[in-house]
Structure formats: C-alpha cells, structure tokens
C-alpha cells in the first residue's frame, strides 16, 4: 500500500536531487548517498567485530557464569532504546573527541547499536552447526581457525546472513541515533566521502519531512522516501541472499 502511493511518482531527479526547503520538487540525493555510506561504514565496523565476538562466544568462551551473564547482557541490550545509543555516541564523539556531528560518529554509534544483534546471531548460528561436521574437519587435521573458516561459517552462513539483513534493515531505518550523532544536514554535495561531514540519512530525512518540514509537498516526499526506503531494504536482502540462492540451486543441479 505504501509502495503504491510512493512508487509511481518516483523519478531519477528525486533520487539524485538536492533537498529543498521552500519549493516543491526537492530530492533526496545526498540523504540517499549518506544512508548507504553510513550503513556501509557501520556494517564494515560491526560485522567483523560482531562476528568475531560471536565466534568467541560460540567456540572459545569457557562455559561459566560470567560468560552466561555477558550473553544475557548482549541480548538485553537489544531492548535498550536506540536513543540511549545516540546519547552514548554523543558523549563519546562530541564530548570526548570533539568531532561535532559527523558521518563517522553516526556510523560508529550505529555500529554499536548493531553489535549485540550481530554477536548473538553469529553465536546462535555457529552453535546450530552439527558437531559431527566439526569433528569431521578436526579429524582431517585442520586447525581450529581452518575449521571455523571452512566449515562452521559456510554452514552457518544462512543464519548469519539473515541476521545481517535484519540488522542492516534496522540500521537503514534507524533515525534517533543519526539525528543525535550525525545531524540533519548534508554537506550539500552529492558525492561526499569526507568522514567528518555531517550526514543526514534517508530515514532521518523521512523523520524530518514527516515531522517538521514545511515544504508544500512534504507528504508527497515522505511517501516517496518511504517507498525508496522499503525498496532499498528489499534490495539489501536480495544482494545478500541471491548468492546463497544461486549456490543452493547449483548444488541441487
């Protein structure tokens, strides 16, 4: 339903244009770019960290109360409102490092938000790999690293990818953290890779046009932006999953 309202009006100009405050026809170009940029950066930080921590919990961690406590804490943190992560990001980047509102701060804060989910999903997926496969690999004389790399992760990949998709979708739609740490402005250029630029994302732009903007076509922009947002979440799913599907199909053939 949301798609039907927004999609037919989408145009290339809308996707790449600069936003406008007064006249109709403002675009979402920089916000769109920032969305991807911040998402990419935050995933680049959180996937390796989250996976490594998940691997630690699943494979190396001793089975004691402290680790169990950590595990529950990690789970519990996913229920902390994202705004708290935003405040944490502010006190870290703005108060301590004096970085102002930047893409970097936004991406790292977002990465923190993603970490618990990624860690737990990785751990759960690794644990669900049958022990027999692990034993088979060890019995062939592989080191622990080789087993993790060549057996555990490939087998657990489906679950991990589902987790990454969920996290990426959530991160893509997240606004509170970005408003607090990366601001509601863009640097006004479409392709700005500067890590220290302010970085409004699509979700933030959506929040802005829905709640405060007074351009005449705010409602229109909101619908279109929502449509774009949903399409992109779909696209992210596809990008991550298609290789898996293709692999599965090839194996069957």
């Amino acid at each position: 339903m949301l798609l039907r309202k927004g999609l037919p009006n989408l145009s290339w100009d809308f996707l790449t244009g600069l936003p406008s405050e007064i006249e109709e026809g403002g675009g979402i170009g920089p916000a769109l770019f920032n969305s991807f940029y911040i998402l990419f950066l935050s995933l680049a930080i959180s996937i390796p960290l989250g996976m490594a921590a998940g691997i630690y919990l699943a494979e190396f961690a001793p089975d004691n109360r402290f680790i169990a406590f950590i595990r529950i804490c990690v789970e519990g943190l996913s229920s902390v409102p994202s705004i708290i992560f935003g405040l944490f990001g502010i006190s870290l980047f703005v108060d301590i490092f004096h970085l102002d509102l930047t893409i970097l701060g936004g991406a790292v804060s977002l990465a923190f938000l993603n970490l618990p989910m990624l860690t737990r999903v990785t751990e759960e997926s690794l644990r669900s790999v049958p022990t027999e496969l692990k034993n088979a690999s060890f019995a062939l004389g592989s080191t622990h690293l080789q087993t993790i790399r060549t057996v555990l992760i490939p087998v657990a990949l489906n679950g991990i990818i589902t987790g990454i998709c969920l996290t990426a979708g959530r991160a893509f739609g997240e606004s509170a953290v970005i408003i607090l740490t990366a601001g509601v402005t863009t640097s006004g250029e479409l392709w700005d890779f500067n890590l220290l630029s302010p970085g409004e994302t699509l979700a933030v732009h959506l929040w802005y046009v829905q709640s405060e903007a007074i351009v005449p076509d705010a409602g229109d922009i909101a619908q279109k932006a929502t449509a774009v947002l949903i399409m992109i979440v779909l696209a992210i799913n596809l990008v991550f999953r298609v290789p898996l599907w293709m692999k599965a199909r090839r194996m069957k053939g």
Binding site: N135, F138, G141
Partner: protein, 253 residues
C-alpha cells in the same frame, strides 16, 4: 599375519572429570592389518579409538595418563603437532557426515587445508581417493553435485575418500557401518579389506560377525578394561577369558 606393531598403547588411563573411562589399557596395534574393538556399549572402545588421533582433546575435562606411541613417538608428548597427527591418523564416524558442499569439495577439503591449491594436483587426489573408496564410478559424472544428495552408504564411502585424501597411514573407523543397510555395510567391509594392504585400520564395531569377518586381530573391552586381545580367529573360536566367551556367545551385551 605381519606383526610389526605400529601403535603401542601403554598403561593408558582416561578420565572424564572424576569418571574413569579407560583403565590401564595396554595394546599393540599391528601395521597394515585390521584391528577390531568389540564390547558392549559404554565399555570404552570408542573412547580408546578417539585417543588415537586425540579427538578427546576437545572434550572439556578429559585427561589422559600413560602413553600411546605411534612409531616410537608419544602422541601425547609436548612436541607432537596435533594437526599432523590427525592428518596421519584419519577417522570415519558412525554417522556419515559429509560437509554440505559438493562431492569434489568434500574430498578436496583436506588437501586444501594442508596447502594444496593446484587444480591438477587436487583433481588427481580426488580421483584417486574416490577410486580407493570404490565410489569413483558412481559419482565421476557429477562431482559438482551436493554430497548430501548421495545415499547413506555412498555418503559413508565419500567420508572414507575424504579421510584418505589427506594421505593418512592409519584409518580409524568408529562403528562406520552401524547406520547403514546390509548391502552398504558389505561394500564398506570389502573396501576395508582392500585398504588394509596400504593402511593400518582400527575399527570399532558392535557387530561381532563383522569383527569376525573382517579383522585380523580383535580386542574385547569391558568396563574400560581390555579383557582379551588376540588374533581374531582365536578370540572367536577359543577365547581364554570366560567373560569373552559369554559375550561372543550372546549371553550379554
């Protein structure tokens, strides 16, 4: 029967925490012959098998006293490289456990681990191993197919091929036929007969007829102790211990 001892087990004790699973086990396992471990469930036969390639290392709380020497080297000594040990002492498990990869990748898995990357070399190893495991003719036309699409018996032979591909000298078979139908079982037994000319084979079985059919030497376990070990023919026709006689005549177990 050739009687060069390849593996010498000397007064081996194994504990899982407080529980003693093996008590003062001493054995010699001859080279290029089939040795069978028999005994009722929980008698320690599989446990002993798993000490031979140190798969018990991964069980928390497992502790070993005494020595196991392979070719004069104590495999629990500090200077032993566990991965090489497992490469030289291959293992086939009770449940067929192929990786969810293609047939080719399953067999090539081990060699790749150990640093072989050249396609031609790999092709050769895969073909030789599959031939040795009497599977080549059945699968040579669809090596890219998923290993999981094979039947149970084929999967188990694939696992044998996978174990052979890393070039072991010893092959441990842990009730390798117990999950298979009679025809597949016979095939595996025939295979073992062929392989014994090149490999030292140790098999655990709960099927006394199998031990009688296949092995040259049989060891009878009870409650973690070796009750009797001698040439298979002798053990089954003229056991020297009353408990052995009770077991093989089906009075318990």
């Amino acid at each position: 029967m050739q009687a060069t001892a390849l593996i010498e087990i000397n007064k081996l004790d194994l504990f899982y925490g407080a529980f003693q699973a093996l008590k003062q086990v001493s054995l010699e396992i001859p080279q290029r012959a089939i040795t069978a471990f028999i005994g009722p469930s929980g008698c320690g036969k599989s446990t002993l098998l798993r000490t031979l390639n140190r798969m018990n290392d991964m069980i928390p709380g497992a502790r070993v006293e005494g020595s196991i020497e392979i070719g004069g080297t104590d495999i629990y000594g500090g200077d032993v490289h566990v991965e090489t040990l497992r490469k030289k002492v291959g293992m086939v498990f009770q449940q067929p456990n192929p990786f969810p990869k293609s047939i080719y990748d399953n067999v090539a898995y081990g060699p790749r681990l150990h640093g072989i990357t050249k396609r031609r070399e790999l092709d050769e190893i895969v073909e030789n191993s599959l031939r040795s495991a009497a599977l080549w003719n059945e699968v040579k036309d669809h090596l890219k197919r998923s290993a999981l699409s094979l039947s149970g018996g084929q999967q188990q032979r694939l696992c044998i091929a996978r174990a052979l591909a890393v070039g072991p000298d010893v092959l441990l078979m842990d009730e390798a036929t117990s999950a298979l139908d009679p025809i597949s079982t016979i095939k595996i037994e025939e295979l073992a007969q062929e392989l014994k000319d090149r490999y030292t084979i140790v098999m655990v079985t709960h099927n006394m007829h199998q031990a009688a059919r296949v092995s040259h030497q049989t060891v009878f376990f009870l409650n973690g102790e070796v009750v009797e070990y001698s040439a298979t023919e002798k053990l089954f026709s003229d056991p020297s211990d009353q408990r052995t006689e009770d077991y093989i005549s089906g009075r318990f177990g």
